[in-house]
Symmetry: C2
Subunit: 552 residues, 2 copies
C-alpha cells in the first residue's frame, strides 16, 4: 500500500543521529561513571575505564588493519572483554560473530567459514579447538590470543598478538564514527537437530530498539522483577548466545553494576552472587536447577534475586522451589531469530497478592508481549485463534528487531517470514488478557480434521496411565483427517502389554469428558514396543519414529 503521506526530507539532520550502539554509552558516563564492572574475582573496573577500553579496542583494531565490514569472531567466556567487544567491534562498522564455543570443532569451523571471519579472538581455553581447525579456516587472517594465566602458551597456532596488545595500540579518547543504522552489527549461528547451522544477524538499529523496548518492559511497568539502575546484574546465559539475551546492552544504558562470571561454575556463580550482591540474572532452567539444588544454596540468602528464565519452558516444580527460596522468578520468551525478547511473565501489581500456586500459574506461562511486539496466535490460514486460553495456534510475530532471514541462505528466510510475520514454530494458546502459554512445537503438533492436538499434552496424559513406562506420540498422514495421532508405548515390567492400549484409551476418555482434550485426540493406533527410538543425547527421536511408521 502506498500512501501519499508527507515525507520528512532526508536531510543530514534527520539522519544525523542514526541509532548506533555507541550511543548506549552516553548515560552510564553521566549517571554512574564510577559504577563497577566486575570479572570473577580477578578484575574490577568503572564505566569510565570500560568506555576507555572500548575506545582503545575499536581504534586498536583499526590500527591493526581491521576494516569496516570485516567479521571478527570471538571465542571467550563471559567477561568484561566480551562486553567491550559488544561495543568496539560493531562500533567501527565491523561485524561481531559470537562463536558458540560449545559446538564441535567441525561446527565451529563451519560457522567461521560461513561467516568469513577475518580475525578471531581466542581465549586460551579454546586453543585445542583452534588447533584442530586452523588450517581449514580459510578466511581467518589473524588469530588473537586472550590470555588469563601466566603459564606460557604452547600452541601450533600462529597468534598475531594478544588481546591486550590491541588495546595498548589504541587510543582511550577515540570517538566512534557515524554510519547507517542498518549496518550489520552482530552475527551468530543457531543449530537445529538437523542440517547446517543457520546464521542470524542484527543491525545497530535493531539492537538499539531491542535495548530501549527491553528497558521499558523491565523498568517502567509496575509489578515484580523490575530492573532499575540500582540493580546488580550477572548474566548466566552465555554472551555468545543472542548477546546474552541483549541484557548487557540494557544494563550498560542504565549504568547498572555488572558482574561477569567467566566460565559457569556453580561455586563461582554462588560466590559472586553473594559477594557482589547480585540482584538480577537470567538463565535456562537447567542452570537455575543446578544452583538452587546445590548444598551452598541452602546456606545463603537468595531472597529478592530476580531471575528471568528462558531457553525452554520454566518447570512449575523448579519455579516453586525458587519462590520458596525467595527468588523472584519469571519467564522470558524469545528465540535466536528474535534478538530475542518477545514476552515476559512478570506480574502486574494486582497479581502480586495472589497465592503462590496462582502466581506460579502465571510466572510459568510464556508471558505477555513487551512494548512494540506484535504477536499473534494463528491457524494455518493466518487467522487469529480465539483468545480462549484453549485453542492452539502458531505464534507469529513482528517487531522492529527480528532477523530478516538466515545469513546467506535466502530460501530458509522466505519460509521463516511467510505471510509477513516471523513464524516461531511454537504452538500456543492465548487468553483474553494477552497471556500466552506455549503448548508444543509445531513440528510435533498433530493436525487432524482442522484441529491441532499437542503431542506433548497427549504424551503427558498417556504417561499417567497405570502400567506405562515411556510414551511417544507422533502424527501420521491420514487421507481423510490430514493426520492422526499414533502412540508408541513401553510397558512397565510386570505389566501386560496386551491390555495397555485399551487401558490408555479408557484413561484418555476421562479427559475428553472433562474438556481437557477433544475426542479426536484419542489415537486409534497404540503400539506397545520394547523400546522407543532415541537420539545420541537421549531425546525421543520423532523423526525416526515417523520414518518407521511410514514404512509400514
Amino acid at each position: 500500500m502506498t500512501l501519499q503521506t508527507r515525507q520528512i526530507e532526508k536531510s543530514p539532520n534527520a539522519y544525523g543521529y542514526p541509532l548506533l550502539l555507541k550511543n548506549i554509552l552516553r548515560t552510564p558516563l553521566i549517571y554512574s561513571p564510577d559504577q563497577e564492572i566486575v570479572y570473577r574475582d580477578k578484575k574490577r573496573m568503572t564505566y569510565r575505564d570500560l568506555a576507555a577500553r572500548i575506545s582503545q579496542l575499536g581504534s586498536g583494531l583499526l590500527a591493526m588493519g581491521v576494516k569496516p565490514g570485516d567479521v571478527i569472531g570471538i571465542m571467550d567466556w563471559d567477561s568484561d572483554r566480551y562486553l567491550a567487544s559488544y561495543f568496539a567491534v560493531p562500533g567501527i562498522g565491523a561485524v561481531m560473530h559470537t562463536i558458540n564455543v560449545r559446538l564441535s570443532p567441525e561446527q565451529v569451523l563451519w560457522t567461521m567459514n560461513h561467516a568469513e571471519d577475518a580475525v578471531v579472538f581466542v581465549h586460551e581455553d579454546f586453543i585445542p579447538i583452534v588447533e584442530a581447525i586452523k588450517d581449514q579456516a580459510k578466511t581467518v587472517k589473524k588469530w588473537i590470543l586472550i590470555k588469563e594465566t601466566d603459564a606460557p602458551v604452547k600452541s601450533s597456532v600462529a597468534f598475531d598478538c594478544e588481546f591486550e596488545e590491541i588495546l595498548a595500540k589504541g587510543a582511550a579518547d577515540y570517538e566512534f564514527p557515524d554510519f547507517d543504522e542498518n549496518t550489520m552489527a552482530t552475527l551468530f549461528y543457531t543449530t537445529g537437530t538437523t542440517g547446517d547451522p543457520k546464521g542470524v544477524y542484527f543491525s545497530h538499529r535493531q539492537l538499539m530498539l531491542h535495548t530501549l523496548a527491553m528497558s521499558v518492559a523491565t523498568g517502567a511497568f509496575a509489578g515484580n522483577g523490575r530492573i532499575h539502575s540500582d540493580d546488580v546484574y550477572m548474566p548466566i546465559t552465555p554472551m555468545f548466545h543472542v548477546h546474552a539475551w541483549g541484557v548487557p546492552y540494557v544494563a550498560t544504558m542504565l549504568g547498572i553494576k555488572q558482574v561477569y562470571p567467566g566460565r559457569y561454575e556453580p561455586e563461582m556463580l554462588l560466590k559472586l552472587l553473594i559477594s557482589e550482591k547480585v540482584t538480577f540474572s537470567h538463565c535456562v532452567p537447567t542452570i537455575l536447577h543446578m544452583l538452587v539444588s546445590s548444598p551452598v544454596a541452602k546456606k545463603v540468602d537468595l531472597r529478592g534475586w530476580k531471575v528471568i528464565i528462558g531457553g525452554s519452558a520454566l518447570p512449575r516444580g523448579l519455579a516453586k522451589a525458587a519462590m520458596e527460596l525467595g527468588i523472584d522468578i519469571y519467564t522470558g520468551y524469545g528465540m535466536s531469530e528474535t534478538c530475542p525478547l518477545l514476552t515476559l511473565s512478570a506480574l502486574s501489581p494486582d497479581m502480586l497478592s495472589l497465592d503462590t500456586e496462582a502466581q506460579l500459574d502465571f510466572r510459568t506461562k510464556t508471558g505477555r508481549a513487551v512494548p512494540l511486539v506484535d504477536i499473534r496466535i494463528v491457524d494455518p490460514m493466518m487467522k487469529d485463534t480465539p483468545k480462549d486460553n484453549q485453542t492452539a495456534g502458531e505464534i507469529v510475530v513482528r517487531a522492529p528487531w527480528l532477523t530478516q532471514g538466515y545469513y546467506k541462505n535466502p530460501d530458509k528466510g522466505k519460509e521463516l517470514w511467510e505471510g509477513g510475520y516471523l513464524h516461531t514454530g511454537d504452538v500456543a494458546v492465548i487468553d483474553d488478557k494477552g497471556w500466552i502459554r506455549i503448548t508444543d512445537r509445531i513440528k510435533d503438533v498433530i493436525k487432524t480434521g482442522g484441529e491441532w492436538i499437542s503431542s506433548l499434552e497427549l504424551e503427558s496424559l498417556i504417561s499417567q496411565t497405570p502400567g506405562v513406562s515411556e510414551v511417544a506420540v507422533v502424527g501420521v498422514p491420514h487421507e481423510k483427517w490430514g493426520e492422526r495421532p499414533v502412540a508408541m508405548v513401553v510397558a512397565l515390567p510386570e505389566t501386560s502389554g496386551e491390555a495397555l492400549p485399551e487401558a490408555i484409551k479408557n484413561h484418555l476418555a476421562k479427559f475428553v469428558d472433562d474438556g481437557t482434550i477433544s475426542k479426536w485426540a484419542i489415537p486409534e493406533q497404540i503400539n506397545v514396543v520394547a523400546a522407543i527410538p532415541k537420539t545420541s543425547v537421549g531425546k525421543i527421536d520423532k523423526k525416526v519414529i515417523r520414518a518407521e511408521l511410514a514404512k509400514k
Copy 2:
C-alpha cells in the same frame, strides 16, 4: 564519511515494522485494557474504549474525505478527544496541527494558512476566534464542531458536522495502515518575541524514539520522580504545546490512568488531583505557583505528587515551597524544537539522603541528559567548555527526535543546525558529573575578549547594590574586545543617581575578588536613566536598548 560497512538489505521484513505511533497502543490493550481515561468530571472510558474511538476517528476522517498528507488543525482543551486525535490523525498518515489557542486570531490565522489546514476541529469555546478569521482561512475546507454543552450553537461558521458524528461514521475495528516511519505526524508553531511564528514538525519515528527514551529516563533509572504503569497522570501543560511534552504518548504506552482537565481552572485541577489520586504531572512554574498558593492547597494532601517543571527555570523559592508540601518536584529541560525532552533533574538514589537545601541545588538545575541525547556546552568555535560548573557556553544538542528545521523556512533551519548540532540559544555551565545549569539566553550574553558574561547574572548582582531600583545590561560592539557590557540603571527615589555608577563598580569588584565574575564583567559605562524601555507585556526590551545605544 562513508564506510564500507555491511548493510542489511532493505527487504520487506527489515522495514516491515516501521516505528509508527499506532504501535504505542499495543501494550495498554494487553496490560491494562480496563484502566481509565478521565475527562474532568464529565466522562470516563477504558483503554479499550479509547482504542475503539481512535479507530472510529481515523476511519471516520477517511470516510469524510480526508487524505493522507492532509493537515488537520485542532482547537480544543486538554481532553480524551485530543488524546484520540494524537493517534488517529497521524495514524491515517495525516498531519496533526496542534493550534495554539492562546494566540491572537490573526496569529491563529497565520498558522492555519502556513500549515495549509484542510480540516479544523473547533471546540465551541473557540468559535469567536474562528468567526473572526474564517473568511481568510483559504485552505480550510471543513470546520468540525466540538460541542460539550447542550446549548444550541449560534454561529456564522458553516460547520460541516460535529466531532462525534465523525466517530459515528467510523469503524471501531479499523486497523491503521503501515507506511514510512519518516512520515510527518505533527506540526505546531512556536512564537518568539519577533517575526512570524515558526513551524516545528515531527515524524512518527521521532515521536516513537522520544516516547521510548522518555519512558526509560523516567521509568528505568532509580531515584526520585519515577513514572511507572501504576501512576496516575494528569498533564497541566497544554496538549497543543509540544504534544504536552510527549508525556501522553508515554502514559499510553505504559497503560497509565490518565486524567485530562480541560481548561485549566485551579479549582478543577485540585479537585481532579484529589478525587482521581493523581500522582504525576508536569507544568510551568506559574501554574504550580498558582496551585500551591491556592487556599485549597493547604487543606489537601499533595505528598508524593511528582511534578516535572519545564518551560522556564524552576525558581528555588517555588521548589522549596513545593517540597515542604511533600511534592516531588524537579526540572525537565527542552524546547519546542527538541520534541521536547533533553534533560531531567531527577536525583540518583544516593542524592536522596541530601538535606533539602542540597537537594534544591540539584532539583532546580537544568538536569542531566536523558538516554540517547548528545548534549554539549560549547564555545563559539564549537569546542567543548571545561566541565568546571563555571565556564559558560551554548547548549548544542543531537538526538533522534529534533526538528529538522522550520516548516517551509529552510533558511532559519540552516541557522538552527549550524555545525551539525541544534543550537538551543541557551547558555549554560556543566559540572564533571554531567549536571547542566542554564545561566542565560545567548542573545543576552555579552561576548568580551573571548569570555562570555551573563547579562542576567550581572543584572542580578547590580540589582543588589543599594540605591538601584531597576537594571538592564546589554552588550555593545567594541572594536578591541568584540563587545563590552553597558548597564542602564534606574535609581531608587531619594538616591543620588550621580554616585550610583561608582557604587555599582565597587559592589561588583567584591564579586571579582571572590571569583563569582571575571574582572572583564565590570561595565565601564553605567547610564543612570529615568526609565528602562519595556515591551508591551512589561519585559525589558533589550532590542530597543541596543538600538538606542547604537545611535549614540
